[in-house]
C-alpha cells in the first residue's frame, strides 16, 4: 500500500475510527493487529521474516534482562561478603554471558538482512570476478523478494536489543508489545527508526480522542501529502526523463537533473515522514523527528545531523561509538600515536571507524556499488572538511565574515550542491556512468537549455514549472518560519476563518495540483475515432 493510494487512506480512516472506539487499554492491540494486517496485505510471506526477528529479539532481550536481574539480586544479597575483586569478576562473568546472547541474536538477525538483501549483490560481484578471470561459469541469481521495511525494522529491533544489553532499556515482558514496537506500520516503509524508550510510552498508553492533537496530526499529514504529491511526484517526471536517457541528456541537463533530484528526494522523503509522524500524532503517539531543515546546513557533517536523523544517530550509537572506543581501537590509537606522532595517532582511529560507518550507511541504502561509493563519498567530504578546519579557522580570523549573511548563504548553497553531486550515484545507479555524466557538466557546454525552452521538453509544462517554483518557495518559507517555532503553532493562534482558509487551501492545492490518478498524465481525451 502506497501512502498515496486510496487503499491506504481508507485503511487509516477505518483504523482511526476503530482506535478511538476501542477501550484505551486495548488500543495497542488494535495497532498491532492493524500493523500485521498492513504487512499481510503487502505479502503474507513477509510475516515470517518479521515474526522471526520479533521472536528471537524478544527471547534474547528477556534472557539478557534476566541475567541483569540475577546479577543485581546476587550483589545485593552478598553485598558484604564479596570483596571488590570478587564482585568485579562476577560482573565480568555475567556481562560475558549477556554478550554471548547478544552476539548470537545480532548475528542471526543481521544475517537474515544480509542474506535477503545482499546475496544477489555478492553473486553479481563473484560473477564479474569470474568473468574477469576468464571463466565462463556464472552463478544464477537468487530469486527472493526483499521483505518490506526489513532494513528499518531490523535496525529498530537490533537497537532495542543493544539498549537492553547496555541497560538503557528494560526488556519488554510482553512479546506482543515488542511485536508492535517492531512492526508499527506507519514507519515500516521508510522509517523513522525509533528507539524503544522513545516510543513505548506512546504506543502502549491509553489515548483519548483530543481534537487538538488530532487536528495537528491531520495538518502534518496534509503538509506531507502536499510535498509528496504536488512537488515530488510532479518533478519526478523530469528527473526520470533525464536520468533514464543518459546518452541524450548531458552537460547542463545533468546539473538540472541533479538539482531536481535533490528537490524530489527532499519533498518525497520529508513528506513521507510528515505523513508517518502525522498519522502517529492523530493516534496520540509522538515519534522522533527525522529531519531538522537539512538544507540549511552549513556543512555536510551538519547536514547529516539534520537529515534522516534517526538513521544517523543509530549508526553513531550502535556502530561508530562501539568501534571507536573498543579496546582494540584504543590500543591501535596508542600504537599509531607512538609510531606516527600525535596528529595521525589522534585521527586514524576516528577516521577508520567513520569509514566503517559510511560504508555501512552506503550499503544499508542499497545493495550495489553506487550506494557504497555514495556512502564513502560522504566520508571523504567529511574527512576533508575536518582536515581543512584549521585553515578555515585562520581564514575566519583574518576575514570576519563568518556571521555575515552572504557567507552563510554561500555555505548553505555549497552544502546543497555537494550533497546533490553525491546523490548522483543514487540517481544513475552506476558508478562509472555517474562519473562520466558528472564530467559532461564541465566538458559539454549547453547551458542555453536553461532558457531556450528545452526544459519544457522534459515532460513538464510551463505551468508545472510555475507550480514547482511556487511549491519550492513555500517549502523554503515554511522552513524559515520553523526557525521560530512549529508553523502549525503559529497558524493555530490565528482567527478561525484564517486557519480554515489556510488548511482548506492546502487541501485544495493537493486535490487540484497533486500529480495523481489517471487524469495526471492523460490530461486530455484524445479521441481517435473508434
Amino acid at each position: 500500500m502506497l501512502f498515496t493510494s486510496y487503499e491506504f487512506i481508507g485503511f487509516i480512516l477505518i483504523l482511526f475510527a476503530a482506535y478511538y472506539l476501542t477501550p484505551g487499554k486495548k488500543q495497542w492491540i488494535l495497532l498491532l493487529a492493524a500493523s500485521y494486517l498492513f504487512y499481510f496485505l503487502a505479502d503474507p510471506v513477509y510475516l515470517i521474516y518479521i515474526l522471526t526477528t520479533t521472536v528471537t529479539v524478544y527471547l534474547a532481550a528477556r534472557h539478557i534482562g534476566r541475567i541483569a536481574e540475577e546479577q543485581s539480586v546476587y550483589i545485593k544479597e552478598n553485598k558484604t561478603s564479596l570483596s571488590k575483586e570478587e564482585k568485579k569478576a562476577y560482573k565480568a562473568g555475567m556481562k560475558s554471558r549477556q554478550w554471548k546472547c547478544l552476539l548470537v541474536c545480532l548475528l542471526f538477525n543481521i544475517g537474515i538482512l544480509a542474506v535477503v538483501k545482499y546475496t544477489n549483490f555478492v553473486i553479481s560481484n563473484v560473477n564479474s570476478v569470474m568473468k574477469w578471470a576468464g571463466s565462463n561459469n556464472q552463478l544464477d541469481f537468487w530469486d527472493i523478494a526483499l521483505p518490506m521495511g526489513i532494513s528499518f525494522y531490523t535496525f529498530q529491533a537490533v537497537g532495542y536489543l543493544i539498549d537492553v544489553y547496555r541497560g538503557v532499556a528494560q526488556a519488554e515482558q510482553n512479546p506482543f508489545k515488542l511485536a508492535l514496537f517492531i512492526s508499527f506500520f506507519p514507519q515500516l516503509v521508510q522509517g523513522p527508526i525509533s528507539r524503544f524508550n522513545d516510543l513505548k510510552e506512546g504506543l502502549f498508553s491509553e489515548h483519548r480522542f483530543q481534537a487538538d492533537t488530532v487536528c495537528r496530526g491531520l495538518q502534518r499529514i496534509l503538509w506531507g501529502y502536499f510535498k509528496k504529491m504536488v512537488i515530488a511526484d510532479r518533478i519526478l517526471t523530469a528527473v526520470n526523463t533525464i536520468i533514464r536517457d543518459a546518452d541524450s541528456y548531458r552537460g547542463a541537463y545533468v546539473f538540472v537533473g541533479m538539482l531536481f533530484y535533490a528537490l524530489e528526494l527532499y519533498a518525497d522523503f520529508t513528506g513521507g515522514i510528515d505523513i508517518t509522524i502525522g498519522i502517529a500524532e492523530t493516534l496520540g503517539i509522538k515519534m522522533a523527528e527525522n529531519f531538522n531543515r537539512p538544507f540549511f546546513s552549513k556543512s555536510i557533517k551538519e547536514y547529516w545531523r539534520r537529515w534522516h536523523i534517526t538513521m544517523g544517530t543509530w549508526f553513531t550509537d550502535y556502530i561508530f561509538y562501539p568501534i571507536s572506543v573498543c579496546k582494540p581501537m584504543l590500543k591501535f590509537a596508542r600504537f599509531t600515536k607512538a609510531h606516527f606522532g600525535d596528529v595521525i595517532g589522534k585521527r586514524l582511529p576516528v577516521y577508520l571507524s567513520s569509514f566503517v560507518v559510511w560504508f555501512a550507511t552506503g550499503i544499508w541504502h542499497g545493495a550495489s556499488w553506487n550506494f557504497i561509493v555514495w556512502g564513502l563519498g560522504n566520508w571523504v567530504v567529511i574527512m576533508i572538511s575536518q582536515e581543512l578546519e584549521p585553515l578555515y579557522e585562520r581564514f575566519h580570523n583574518r576575514f570576519h565574515i563568518k556571521d555575515k549573511f552572504a557567507f552563510r548563504l554561500f555555505q548553505v548553497i555549497r552544502t546543497v550542491l555537494l550533497m546533490s553531486c553525491l546523490r548522483m550515484f543514487d540517481c544513475y545507479r552506476d558508478v562509472p556512468l555517474t562519473f562520466k555524466m558528472f564530467g559532461t557538466m564541465f566538458t559539454e557546454w549547453n547551458w542555453q537549455i536553461l532558457w531556450d525552452g528545452s526544459l519544457l521538453l522534459l515532460g513538464l509544462s510551463g505551468l508545472d514549472y510555475v507550480i514547482l517554483a511556487a511549491g519550492t518557495i513555500l517549502l523554503i518559507a515554511v522552513s524559515l518560519m520553523q526557525r521560530r517555532e512549529s508553523v502549525r503553532t503559529q497558524i493555530a493562534v490565528k482567527s478561525y476563518p484564517v486557519r480554515f482558509a489556510i488548511w482548506f487551501g492546502l487541501f485544495l492545492c493537493i486535490l487540484l495540483m497533486g500529480a495523481y490518478g489517471v487524469g495526471y498524465d492523460a490530461s486530455q481525451f484524445i479521441y481517435n475515432q473508434f
Partner: protein, 76 residues
C-alpha cells in the same frame, strides 16, 4: 578535574567548560570530539568509557564527565 578541563579546552578553546551543561544538547561536542575525549581520558586516567556510557547525561558537562570517570575509577 583540571586535567579533564584541559583535554576539553584543547578541543574547543572557545567553550567555557566549567559552566556549560549542555555540551551534547546544544551540539557543541560532536561524535568525533567524543571519541577523542574518550581516547584522551583513557590515556590520562586509565579508565575505559565503553559505548553504553556514551549518553547525553554523561557528556553534557565537564562535571558529569568527571563524575563518570570517578565512578569508573572506583569500580576498578
Amino acid at each position: 578535574m583540571e586535567e579533564l578541563l584541559e583535554i576539553l579546552r584543547d578541543l574547543h578553546p572557545e567553550v567555557d567548560f566549567e559552566t556549560c551543561d549542555s555540551l551534547i544538547d546544544d551540539k557543541i561536542l560532536d561524535s568525533f570530539d567524543i571519541v577523542s575525549i574518550i581516547a584522551e581520558i583513557e590515556d590520562q586516567f586509565d579508565v575505559v568509557i565503553t559505548a553504553e556510557k556514551i549518553i547525553p547525561r554523561n557528556f553534557n558537562s565537564a562535571e558529569a564527565l568527571y563524575a563518570l570517570i570517578q565512578e569508573l575509577e572506583d569500580e576498578d
